[in-house]
Each structure stands twice: as C-alpha cells, then as structure tokens.
Symmetry: C2
Subunit: 259 residues, 2 copies
Amino acid sequence: MIQSVERAAHILGVLGSGTPRLGVTEIAEQVGLAKPTVHGLLRTLEAHDLVAQDPGTGKYSLGPGVLQLGNAYLDGSELRARSLRWAESLAQRAGEAVWVATLSGSRVIVLHHEFRPDNTVQILEVGAAIPWNACALGHAIVAHLPEGQRTRALAGDLARLTGQTKTTRAGLSRVLAKVRQRGYAIEDQEATVGDAGIAAPILSRNDVVAGAIGVVGAAGRLLVPGIRDEMVRAVTEAARAVSREMGAGRGGVVLSAFT
Amino acid sequence: MIQSVERAAHILGVLGSGTPRLGVTEIAEQVGLAKPTVHGLLRTLEAHDLVAQDPGTGKYSLGPGVLQLGNAYLDGSELRARSLRWAESLAQRAGEAVWVATLSGSRVIVLHHEFRPDNTVQILEVGAAIPWNACALGHAIVAHLPEGQRTRALAGDLARLTGQTKTTRAGLSRVLAKVRQRGYAIEDQEATVGDAGIAAPILSRNDVVAGAIGVVGAAGRLLVPGIRDEMVRAVTEAARAVSREMGAGRGGVVLSAFT
DNA sequence: TTAATATGTTCGACATCGCCGAACGATGTT
DNA sequence: AACATCGTTCGGCGATGTCGAACATATTAA
C-alpha cells in the first residue's frame, strides 16, 4: 500500500467531511503528519485540481476535479445505468421517491434519485452519504454481504442520526438476520425524523451485492398496514428485475449460507 | 511535487475520461508506467474506494468515493452557494436554463444547473466537463484570467466539438479580447449543434475570476435580435450581483490591465 | 507603533519507501 | 494440449519523499 497516496487520500477525506475549508496546520494535525509533508501533498493534489487553495486566506478545500471525477463515475456506473428504468417505474407504482445506492466504506452513497411523482420541489440527493446502519438501503446491502465483510461493517463506527437509529451491534445483527431471511429491509425514522424507507438488495454476477434500491418517504404514508405490504412487493420486484439485468442468478435474494 | 500522488491522480484522470473500465495493463500503457507500479497505486486507491475492481473481470473503474468527494465539493463551494439565488431569478427572467461553472484545467465544470422554467424533462448537467474553448462560460472565464494563466490556457489543447468550435489560437485570442472589452461572451453552436450560450464572469475578492454564469438554450431563441440584448443584460446583471456577494469590487467586470 | 504569535512556505540531509524486472498462477483462446 | 494474456507477488537497488529547523508574511496584543 503506497504510503504517500494513502496519505493524500486521507487528506481528501478530511477535506470532504465536515469543515470545507482548512489550513495546512489543521490538516496536519488531523492526519497526524508534519506540516511540510502535508504541504507537499496538497500542492500535488492542487496541481491536478483535486484541491484548491483560497488565494486570500491560504486555506485549502476540495477542487473542481473531484466533481468531474464524481460525474465520470456516475456515467460509467453499471448499477446506475441498469436501475434507471426500474427506478422510474417503481416511483410511479409506489408514488414515492426512489433511491439507488451502493456501499462505500461505512457509508451508503446515493447513485440515483428518482423524484416522488408529484410536482413538489425536492432536492436531488445524488452523491449523498448516509451511515449504513441508519437506512434501509444500508441494511439491505450489509445483510447480504459475505460474512467477513459483514462483521467488519458491524465492527466499524455506527453513527447515530436520530433517536431511532440502531447503534448496538447486537441489535443490528439481529435486524440483519431478519433482513437476510425476508429479502428486504424496513427502516422507520432512523435517518431522518418523519421519514421511513423500504429497500431490497441488488445482486450481480455470482450473487454478490452491488447495491440496493428502495423507496423513501413520510413514515405516515409508507408504513400504514396494507400500503406497507404493497410497497414491499413493489420494491422487491424492482430489485429482482435490476439484479437479473446485472447478471445475478434466478435465486433472487436468497443467498446460500455457505458462501 | 510528490511523484506517486501525481501518478495516482493521473490514473484517476485516465479512468475518468472515456472508457470507464480498464485493465491494469491498459492503464499502465496509457500512463507510461510499469505494470506492478500501477497495480500498487490501484490497490491503494481501491482501499479508499476511489477506484473499484470488478470482481469478475478484474478490470478497474472509478469508485463511489469520488462521487462522495464530488458531493462534498459542491456542498462547500462558495461560488455555488452564492449563485443559487441569482441563478434562479435569472432563469425566470430569461426563460432559459442557467449554468454556473468554474475552470478546472482546460475544462469548464458545471457547478449548478437551474432548469429552464417550463415543465419539460431536462437532464441535470451538474459535474459535466466542457472544453473551455467551446462554450461561452469558458470564454468568459478565460478572458478575465490574469495574462499568464490565459496564455497557458491558449497554449493547451483546444478540443473540437462541432463544426463551429473555435480551435485556432489566433481566432480565440481575438474573441477573448472582445469578451474582455464587452464583459460578456456569446457562443453559437460551438459546443452542441442547435444550442447557444451567453455568459459573464463572476469575480471574487481582488477581482480574481471565480467562475461564470450564463444561459444555455436553442440558438433560435437566444440569438434573435432584440431578445439577444435583453438576455445579455440579464446575464451581466446576474453575474455582477453574484460577484458583489463574492466580495468583488464595484468595478464590475472591468479589470485593471496592471494587476 | 511595536512585539509576539500565528500562519503558509522553503530548504536540505538522512533513510525510508516505492519502483520495476522477472517470475507466478489463473483464464481463456487457438 | 500448447499458447498467449491477464492480474498479481516478490525482492533488491536507488531514487524519492519525509520531517526538523528556519523563513517571510499576516494577524493579533499590548
């Protein structure tokens, strides 16, 4: 593992999370390196537009290059491309917003956001990062990860976003077992107060999890008895459809316990 | 300039432009390095989710981490935050789509896209990268760059997108002089056949160019006499409003020749 | 105004870290 | 079944990045 690249990535991470504008000294403290070392890394990243320096204050922030890369990632994402069609029909059928997401570290990244099909103003959440333990999409993905990665995810930090967020390893692993058994996940106001989510995993070749698709909306609309089951059916059918396009086997979400 | 970080950034750039999925050997060829060297860099980037490897084919692509960083960049962008309000009112006034962009290397990156205020379906172009020489936004930015950077931009590669794209250095520098004199740029089907653009620079503290704002739409609507001048006025007024919020002097787009 | 403390930046010597030629195992092809 | 090509591992040489100390500038305090 190449040291300087790792350090550069670490710096990008620090600039990306929380405070958007940091000085060399602050960054050096946060990553635990000498000031001149950080300076050299920053200058190199700046030369490629991955970070930018405010000419006035001298402080550093992320640069436009990372946005360009992010866009290129979306353009090349097979998961996103294949789910566009199904996300739209799922949104129509459910009458709710639809998110497609994938796992990155301990967070779930939204790859596609199909707006709820009414004409209200909604903000695009593509690129948003949500702790996996706080949303149905994350539960659906992690539950279907191979055991090694799953326990590693459980061992990581579990953020708390609302009073409902599940943050105990025992509770979460019980939830995950249920998700794995049922093939879908339901979350009630664990990420945002008032909002609930229903999600199912998207599998790819060899039945490895590529991401998840699900609906997000007011808990009062999604979770009422009757509606709820209809939502679950719509979500799991959409997930299965995308999975088949991604090359997964016919088995749907049922994973062998031995892999 | 740190060598390995530079090489890593180069690899990210290669993965981001054009073919989304490349093998180690192909990447090594494109960046001119030995195969094991590239392998090490890729493994490090992969550990931070900046690249991802297809488990089946072994080929590499960009990872979800870059999307997360791109989103963080947008969240922290002062230019974007300050132009949101004015972009919306400009879109209303002009009845056209509005783009806000900044320069990254030889490309212009779209930071904000306010849709044309009719209810047609439009695709979000945030994150898109356009060669600076092929759009009004790019002309507006580069024209107001300090001379050193401007000549460097002119010396770089000038892409051709349509038959109308200006690609000669002499022609472009004449165009830029006119843009600098007038304070706005007009482009007619140089980026996309059928589409035109009108843009003006956004200045920041000390009157350094931070980006540009402009309208983009069918040439048949934007460039008809009468309408055209009204568009120019709306765009330059919006640009000046954002510039003032960014801390630029009252001088508007008129730059001193001595700075 | 002056002094003091912060900042971002430059320099250079030591030794660590990363580079690449060569070899390996696994796939898929002829 | 022989071949070609892929991604990957190994290890020794040497270039490369690291960090302590010193610098110039900006901001704050007295």
